[in-house]
Amino acid sequence: MILTEGLYKQFDDFVAVRGIDLHVPKGEILALLGPNGAGKTTTVRMLASILRPTRGRAWIAGHDVVKEAVTVRRLVGVLTETPGLYGRMRAREYLRFFGELQGMPRAAIDVRSEQLMAQFGMDGVWHLRLGEYSKGMRQKMALIRTLLHDPPVLLLDEPTSAMDPHSAKQVRDAILTLRSADRAIIICTHNLAEAELIADRIAIIRRGEIVARGSATQLKRDLLGAPILEVRTANPLNGARRLIDDLIQIEAEGDTWLRYRTETPEQVNPLLIDRLSRAGYRVVTLSEVPRPLEEVYLQVVEKQSSMEEVRQTQ
């Protein structure tokens, strides 16, 4: 649904995006994760046919973003970084304006507006001018505007920024619902937890380049190594090490717990439980230690920084 080949964007002397290759099929959500100025917004703007790539190509549902810009803009719903509403308008008038620009009949606009306003808990604010909305309400209104014409591709730049936790959850839930509806979605975010929660795949972008990509699990495995598992017992684990030394490599241990890594948990874990149980240790839990995506992100960023330093020294 979304495909790019060597997408490159240069503003005068500044290179914002350096040859990005992406493929987001229907039903998938891709999170573009990166610091400010990494090139996320520029990528989204190129995919939305707002900016022309300096080099490389991109297609939205098979349409070239340069040659078929108007068609692409019809197929894409763009949530911009800042809501950018017209403060003197009310919701109905505002949504009619954008609906008409998308070529929707007025009756369809009204039906869809009411449905979306209700979905986002905004059905009590029809009478207010958009300038009177709170920050979260403005963001929701911008999202409603984005979804109004039911586009098959969504490009969401920081969709939950400035929202209270309840509103953010509403938006996240809505995005998850949208995935099941045969869409390709790209979310630009700084929010690592959100990316992990919503996205099927994550692409970490830094200085205009994708430096890591994959599912959250895959990224963690690739960058942080095999998962860390923790076994907890009801009685102290004194002397247990010699029983399992040949089976696992212990990373850390306490009185009633130990942590280890394994590449083959499906083979190792049953054996481990069996040996401990036979030796009289009562296993209470065996679980994977959660590793936040933040660790992956920081590792990637640090690795890139040190590589750049080496390059500069050379």
Binding site: F11, D13, V78, T80, G84, Y86, R88, F97, F98, L101
Partner: protein
């Protein structure tokens, strides 16, 4: 053919419909803004009534002193002023049309819609035009009704049509100019400062129109209207050409970066013309073998336009001479041998030496380029037309003093003109391109890059082609032309 026309008409209708969605929203937004509507209301309803009162008072007063004419002329003059004041608001609305939206972050959602650049441009231009122009028409109506009730005065239909058209054309000039500014700046503050480039010429124009009104020279006002329509067309084309989403969103700060500008200019100057590659690696041989032929080929149309305009200037000069012939025997073309040695130094003319002539010509051609830059190239052509028209006058007068015009041209002009005139035409064509680069930068280049490229091309052609030609022409003018003239005449 008919099918194509039908499709074009349908596309045009759809494009207008989409542009109108923008216009409708923005007009509503303007109407909701009391800071705009109160002054527009005052200028539309109160100001015309005040002007009508002033007109009646003034007419009574001047009549007492037997100066009825002033009173008569005062009424149409005030009609024009009543029409002009409300349209001044179009400037305010248009100035903030793009940059204001950018500052409020509402521009990007609009740019992400399926609107084309043209639809956006026209939607916003119409939105800036409609409220002030309608207010202006309303103001004119109020004023005229007041005058009819107070003085039983009805305007001459030609005058009324002229004022309505002038008002509309002026509004379009201000709006199209302001839209250009608005789409090229990054803050409303910067746009307001740059608006002086519109306000000052418009003020001068209104003063000129006022003078014409009191003079009663309506024919001149029609010419002003025609000129305004040309300016409208140029500004609209310029606005459409340089309006693009890239520029609107890509630029974050208005930084005067002379270093960057210089780097661009230097690169354009050093490298072969964009889109070409040269075999020669060394700069000077490459300029003569590759760059100059490419540049001349690329400027064939401006060269043809300039040449054509010079022919027109020559014909105008000749016709002028036929209209105002010199009395027979007034001038005798009998040139003594020491005639050229006796030429006194005249302030604005160069001394008769090759260096002075060359530098004089070079100065004039440089001035052409500077003026061309501010007038979209028009002043450059006009400046060269003046001496050519004078040559036309001299040639036209020749028969009246018993000389052959062709012999006069062949002896006085041709010996050095054969080099000087092509040099001047090429330089003027480059100046025309320099001015036009503001209206239509090359595809893929920003406005400033387009101007810098045109400037680099101008410098290349001037230094490596025109300057040597002018040097040769200067030598011919000093050493060959006088010798021929003295021997023939």
């Amino acid at each position: 053919m008919i099918d194509t026309l039908v499709i074009s008409a349908q596309n045009g209708r759809l494009a207008f419909k989409r542009a109108w969605i923008i216009t409708r929203r923005e007009v509503r937004d303007t109407i909701r803004d009391w800071r705009l509507m109160v002054p527009i209301g005052l200028l539309t309803l109160v100001f015309p009534a005040l002007m009508q009162f002033v007109a009646i008072l003034a007419q009574d007063w001047v009549r007492r002193w037997g100066a009825e004419l002033i009173g008569e002329r005062m009424i149409p003059f005030l009609l024009m002023i009543v029409g002009f004041f409300p349209i001044s608001f179009s400037l305010v609305i248009a100035l903030e049309t793009f940059v204001g939206e950018k500052e409020r972050y509402s521009l990007e959602p609009l740019l992400a819609t399926p609107l084309t650049n043209e639809e956006l441009y026209w939607g916003k231009t119409m939105a800036a035009m409609i409220p002030p122009v309608l207010a202006s028409y309303l103001g004119l109506t109020v004023y005229l009704i007041g005058l009819y009730i107070g003085l039983r005065w009805l305007p001459d239909p030609e005058l009324l049509a002229l004022i309505v058209l002038l008002t509309t054309a002026e509004a379009l000039v201000m709006v199209s100019g302001a839209v250009v500014i608005s789409s090229q700046t990054t803050s409303v503050r910067a746009a307001n400062i740059l608006a002086s480039f519109i306000i000052i010429p418009m003020t001068l124009l209104v003063q000129a129109e006022s003078f014409m009104m009191f003079w009663g020279n309506y024919a001149a006002l029609w010419w002003i209207l025609a000129a305004l329509l040309v300016v409208d067309a140029v500004l609209v084309r310029m606005g459409m050409r340089i309006f693009n989403r890239e520029e609107l969103l890509g630029r974050e700060i208005d930084e005067l970066n002379l270093g960057k500008a210089w780097r661009y200019f230097w690169r354009f100057l050093r490298e072969p013309p964009p889109g070409t590659t040269a075999r020669q690696k060394r700069f000077l041989p490459r300029v003569y073998a590759h760059d100059l032929p490419v540049l001349l080929r690329r400027h064939l149309v401006p060269i043809a336009v300039v040449t054509l305009m010079q022919i027109v200037a020559f014909i105008i000069g000749w016709r002028y001479a036929l209209q105002y012939p010199l009395p027979e025997g007034l001038v005798a073309l009998d040139v003594p041998e020491d005639a050229f040695a006796q030429i006194p130094d005249i302030g604005f003319l160069p001394s008769l030496n090759p260096w002075a002539i060359m530098t004089h010509n070079l100065r004039v051609l440089a001035l052409e380029a500077i003026l061309g830059l501010f007038t979209f190239g028009a002043a450059a052509i006009a400046l060269l037309m003046v001496p050519i028209a004078i040559i036309g006058i001299l040639a036209g007068e020749a028969p009246f003093i018993g000389a052959s015009p062709w012999l006069l041209l062949a002896t006085f002009i041709l010996p050095h003109g054969i080099v000087e005139l092509p040099a001047a035409i090429i330089a003027t064509a480059m100046a025309l391109r320099l001015g036009a680069s503001i209206i239509s930068p090359p595809p893929g280049m920003s406005l400033s890059q387009g101007v810098l490229l045109a400037l680099a091309d101008w410098v290349k052609v001037m230094v490596f082609l025109v300057l040597p030609m002018l040097t040769i022409a200067g030598m011919l003018e000093v050493w060959l032309t006088p010798w021929i003239v003295v021997n023939v005449w």
